[in-house]
């Protein structure tokens, strides 16, 4: 009898190995998305006209089904991790840019005026005022991007077993071991919830100035 | 038509004058409001905070009763208990003798107009449909409700062309007028107003206050008005309830009595520094002895300019009798009075409709120390010195002291 955590040898990884692989494939693209979206969002804030085209392009990209995206990339990047990770980075970008733009725009104009009046240059003002105040909005975007990214990695199974935990779904059918499919779904969901909780924790640590819920009436 | 006439006719507008509009309901008006009796009402929240503490008030019908006090005095809570937006922990509230809890809550609320700060208009509805809300709730047809709404727009001084607009297209003052119109739409006997004019600038606020007094003069509702502004309370209230922090009643009196006899240090402090001057608003200027000797027309002959009974200054008027300015008798030459060399005459008052406060203010503003009295058309009817005004003030005070002890309401309403 094979157990819940006995992973067929064709996957070349232990359960923990798959978890690590899954997190890497899911979160590296989110990180890349964040790094790219910060300057893009700042451009959108600086030049209002820039937001509409960016919003249009990202909306269209978001509409491309992940599977189709993967398949189209095979020609260029082959059946590799990159083929999975590039679309995920694009999806993260799509979620993060509007979140950051809204967050930075939500900084009260009088706060900005006060910062300028105290002699903060544009860079300092961005790093010390706008960005910190936008943290809750950015983290909210990161939560959506990270959780959906973790969920989407599984589909990579369809392009030459690049789906990390998703590959268990294939084996579940090949070896008639439905518990592998349960393992895949439960582990992926748990990872999503865990990462989400971690991001909430990060927000709490980064924003000690936010009123705690329940502290005031 | 010149600017002077326009200003004079503005001064003439009837009810903003508190002397005629603000007493008991004038005769011949059928009673429209109801009497609200608040009986030892307490509101205590689960966390132990007491917002209102054993409050009893008898809110007269057909008049404006103002609840005033610092923040945290429970004035808004009290107001919201009248339409059961807040339920009292103890005590009861009676509407013409009937406990408000005996009526279904929404029926009760539909019988009371409700106006709040910033108006709280529905941004997705046109102005007309905003005003028609309660009539529609009461089951009126759309056409009838809109017709009624259009009628109310006129009543609150809004142009009919605004009816098809949305709230965002109106100024703050206009929105507040819509708020009042919406509250009046179903012709409720009671109007509850929670700091309705607090969010607009002082000039607009004064306009809205005058408008409210004018509307109230026509409609005679029972109005409960909450404000933190004592000047607003004194201006609008027939009766003023001053509440202190913790929700206890400090004083309940007509504004004139409040100003003349504050119940304690808290009320006195809350009234502010110049309550003596402000109280003069309640004394009529009708009895002032006006002098006509120092008034000369611009085309006066030398003889007329000479017979001035030793007055230090003469008021020069135009051919119609409108004041132009003050001049020293020695410097005025018959037939050659130069208007631009005259001294300004300050702000004239209208004896009868303006108060002693306005008269005194006019004399203080005038460089000569004399106030100019004009009639409704802006024509000079006489002049009066600060000294005479001072005597009138003292006389009014002593009349009050002689009369029914401190019954300032009668003095305030003296016509």
């Amino acid at each position: 009898m094979t157990g819940f955590f006995d992973i067929p040898s064709d996957l070349q990884h232990s359960w923990l190995g798959l978890v690590g692989l899954h997190l890497r494939e899911a979160l590296l693209p989110v990180l890349a998305g964040l790094v790219l979206s910060l300057p893009v969002a700042q451009l959108c804030v600086r030049f209002r006209w820039f937001y509409a085209p960016v919003f249009g392009v990202t909306t269209v990209l978001y509409a491309v089904p992940s599977l189709a995206f993967f398949v189209l990339l095979i020609d260029y990047t082959g059946m590799t991790e990159s083929t999975v990770m590039i679309p995920l980075a694009v999806y993260s970008l799509v979620v993060l840019v509007p979140a950051i733009v809204d967050g930075v725009r939500s900084v009260p104009p009088e706060t900005l005026a006060a910062a300028t009046a105290m002699g903060l240059g544009p860079v300092r003002r961005y790093l010390q005022v706008q960005l910190p105040i936008a943290v809750p909005a950015i983290i909210a975007g990161l939560r959506v991007a990270a959780v959906s990214s973790i969920s989407l990695v599984s589909i990579g199974m369809l392009i030459g077993n690049q789906g990390a935990l998703g590959n268990l779904l294939n084996d579940a059918q090949i070896y008639h071991r439905p518990e592998l499919a349960v393992n895949s779904v439960v582990t992926t969901a748990a990872l999503g919830i865990l990462v989400d909780a971690l991001l909430v924790l990060v927000r709490t640590l980064l924003t000690p100035w936010m009123p705690r819920k329940g502290a005031s009436r | 038509m010149n600017a002077g006439r326009a200003r004079a006719s503005e001064l003439l507008k009837p009810p903003p004058s508190r002397l005629s509009g603000n007493g008991q309901a004038p005769p011949n008006r059928r009673k429209r409001g109801v009497l609200i009796r608040i009986e030892s009402v307490t509101k205590r929240y689960p966390d132990g905070t007491v917002a209102v503490d054993g409050l009893s008030l008898e809110i007269p019908d057909g008049a404006i009763t103002v609840l005033v006090g610092p923040s945290g005095c429970g004035k808004t809570t009290t107001l919201r208990m009248v339409n059961r937006m807040v339920e009292p922990t103890e005590g009861r509230i009676l509407l013409d003798g009937e406990d408000i809890r005996q009526r279904p809550v929404n029926t009760l609320r539909r019988s009371m107009g409700y106006v709040i700060q910033n108006a709280g208009l529905f941004q997705h509805r046109t102005i007309l449909d905003n005003i028609a809300t309660v009539p529609r709730l009461l089951g009126w047809g759309r056409r009838k409700a809109r017709a009624r709404a259009a009628e109310l727009m006129e009543r609150v001084g809004l142009d009919a062309s605004l009816g098809k607009r949305y709230p965002y297209q109106l100024s703050g003052g206009q929105q507040q007028r819509v708020g009042v119109a919406r509250a009046l739409a179903a012709d409720p006997p009671v109007l509850l107003m929670d700091e309705p004019f607090s969010a607009v600038d002082p000039v607009v606020r004064k306009g809205l206050q005058d408008e409210l007094l004018r509307i109230q003069d026509e409609l005679g509702k029972t109005i409960v008005f909450v404000t933190h502004d004592i000047d607003e309370a004194v201006k609008l209230g027939t009766m003023v309830a001053v509440l202190r922090t913790g929700g206890r009643l400090a004083q309940f009196a007509p504004p004139a009595e409040l100003l003349s006899a504050p119940a304690d240090a808290f009320v006195e402090d809350f009234l502010g520094a110049d309550r003596g001057i402000r109280r003069l608003s309640f004394f009529p200027s009708a009895g002032l002895a006006l002098e006509t000797g120092p008034v000369v027309p611009i085309d006066a002959d030398a003889a007329r300019l000479g017979s001035h009974d030793g007055a230090p200054y003469l008021l020069v008027t135009d051919a119609d009798g409108r004041p132009l300015g003050w001049g020293e008798p020695g410097r005025l030459t018959a037939g050659a009075v130069e208007r631009e060399h005259l001294l300004p005459y300050g702000r004239p008052f209208v004896p009868g409709s303006d108060s002693l406060r306005t008269a005194l203010d006019g004399s203080v503003l005038s460089p000569t120390g004399w106030a100019v009295a004009v009639d409704g058309e802006g024509r000079t009817v006489g002049v009066v010195s600060q000294q005479v005004i001072g005597e009138a003030i003292r006389a009014a005070h002593s009349r009050l002291a002689d009369g029914a002890a401190g019954d300032a309401a009668d003095a305030g309403a003296a016509r």
Partner: protein, 222 residues
């Protein structure tokens, strides 16, 4: 060959325009079960979101439920449901509904909760019932946001419904899955193009609905 050449070849082939595997049939299939999944998600998410938003309570619980639903891997859930329940509509609907509920639920809640309080207070003071307040005061103002939640859900469902083909289901995913198996890139590109087109059409539909349904007094402030 470029993507555009593949697409041209796919759409130029008249064989792709009729029959069981023809474009019209596949598009209709795709639309039907996307619409069904969205309808179920709306039937669950809207009432719950609107009511909790109206009472301004339960936001934390709602956020937890939404996070849990978001964390469920759609594809994994599909395969699992297929393994357990076999071929059918239900195993396809469960993951798609789980995908669509969180955005509908969370935005409906946020939209109603963040409605400016004074008009609601005024409505209550005028004697409106709570149902009327929700439907006639809060919902019209919240509508742009509520629609945006539905729109996000709809686009995700249309785009994700492609994976249903993996469990032998119809729809536009057939082209992608079959094309992948047959190494027929024309099919893959054609299928992907159609899905993107459908998703954009969905956006257009929501844009039009918002134009018609949202009051001009509200539209301006968004």
């Amino acid at each position: 060959m470029t993507v555009i050449d593949f697409a041209r070849a796919f759409f130029g082939d008249s064989a792709h325009w009729h029959g069981e595997d023809g474009i019209p049939h596949r598009v209709v299939q795709h639309l039907l079960y996307s619409a069904e999944a969205l309808a179920i998600a709306a039937a669950i998410g809207l009432p719950v979101g609107l009511l909790t938003g109206h009472h301004r309570r339960g936001g934390n619980t709602l956020a937890l439920v939404a996070t849990a639903a978001r964390a469920l891997p759609t594809f994994g859930l599909l395969v699992l449901m297929f393994t357990w329940l076999g071929f059918g509509l239900v195993p396809v609907m469960i993951p798609l509904v789980a995908l669509a509920v969180p955005p509908v639920l969370v935005t409906a809640y946020e939209a109603v909760r963040s409605v400016d309080p004074p008009p609601v207070d005024a409505a209550r003071g005028m004697g409106m019932s709570e149902t009327r307040i929700l439907l006639q005061v809060e919902l019209p103002v919240a509508l742009p946001l509520v629609l945006s939640g539905l729109r996000t859900a709809a686009v995700q469902v249309v785009s994700t419904a492609t994976i249903a083909a993996y469990v032998s289901f119809g729809g536009l995913g057939r082209y992608i899955i079959d094309g992948l198996a047959q190494k027929d890139y024309e099919k893959v590109v054609g299928g992907a193009t159609l899905v993107v087109g459908l998703a954009l059409a969905t956006l257009a539909v929501f844009w039009a609905v918002a134009r018609i349904a949202v009051s001009p007094g509200v539209r301006r402030s968004h």
